[in-house]
Point group: C2
Chain length 214, copies 2
């Protein structure tokens, strides 16, 4: 009880971090990296600059962490379908579930906006772009490759290079809606063809990599 | 001979257009749509503004035409492999030739730079982005779908929806190197894995859509 009372007096450090990172992400999306500064982050998150520097080293740290957190939130939403995949007894069904969930996780207005912003600034801020690439497509594909390797051990898939197969599956699922979203921002909310698109990706994937049992 | 002499006196209108469009593309890549203006285009191409307006209606017309011409140049390079595909007697071979050529045509520094620029400006200049999308991925996929339909008639492929299959094949070929290039500009010149990537795309595609004869 004493601890609870203490918490109410002093804001939870995690909450403070979250408020600061939300402000950072919003400013970065609106103004880009060069147009984001700690004065505005402090004003928008209603904390002092000292508080910001107690939690983060510098602007670079803030922007990277804001991006990392956005990606992590999307990943958390999809974590269940990744786990279900590796241990699946019905890959044809669970690959479909995964593919549909993957589209829902990635083709989101905020994620598409930040993706566009990062691509726009790749020449000026290559480190931010590299951090995104490593965290978003690359890490997802590595997790997927690990699931495929397990499914292969269990006799459901047959492939020489699980990392390549994961990359192909990832882009078979995402590329149509993703590239449309890059060039037509309004298309993000049109999910009418997503399920059919996800299912078609699974059909192609299984034709290439399915084994007898799948 | 008289005509040749005349041409030397008065510049060929096609050459003038090309010089103006080259200048437009260069300024657009450097400064974006808002930062491109006809005064600078005139200065960079060493023609008068009157000359520019004799060839083009306005800035919008100039930028669209510059983009269209860049895409057309890439398409011309790839036209032969498209044609060869539709009439192929050995699709397994000619799909490989096509896929490798397609990567060479698209993963080029200028095309990747303009793609990034257009994505960066999609909110402010949606018409430019739409023009790119229609000309670049969409038109290519339509041509590919027509080739697949012919190969299907001839017994080499089997698919319900050639347009969907064309979209999948296009992204199976391009997505890995293309997305790497979006987030890592230097990767454009690293083509060491392109051939293997193209061949793997064909393997997956044929596993899904190959018929007895292919």
């Amino acid at each position: 009880m004493a601890q609870t009372a203490k918490r109410q007096q002093r804001p939870n450090p995690d909450d403070v971090r979250q408020v600061i990172l939300d402000a950072t992400l919003r400013l970065y999306l609106e103004n880009g990296y060069a147009g984001t500064n700690t004065d505005e982050i402090a004003a928008l998150s209603s904390v002092s600059k000292q508080t910001i520097y107690r939690h983060f080293a510098d602007k670079d740290d803030l922007v990277r962490e804001a991006i990392r957190r956005l990606i992590a939130a999307a990943e958390d939403q999809g974590a269940e379908s990744f786990d279900a995949l590796a241990g699946s007894d019905d890959p044809a069904r669970d690959l479909r579930i995964f593919a549909r969930q993957h589209l829902r996780d990635v083709i989101q207005p905020d994620i598409m906006r930040i993706r566009r912003r990062i691509i726009a600034e790749v020449d000026r801020f290559p480190d931010v772009a590299r951090a995104w690439y490593d965290a978003a497509p690359k890490r997802g594909q590595e997790k997927l490759a690990a699931s495929f390797a397990r499914l292969q051990e269990r006799g459901f898939l047959r492939m020489e290079d699980p990392m390549l197969a994961a990359e192909q599956f990832n882009w078979l699922i995402l590329s149509g809606p993703l590239n449309r979203a890059m060039f037509d921002a309004a298309s993000v909310t049109d999910t009418s063809r997503h399920a059919a698109y996800a299912d078609a990706a699974v059909d192609v994937f299984l034709a290439a990599y399915g084994a007898g049992r799948s």
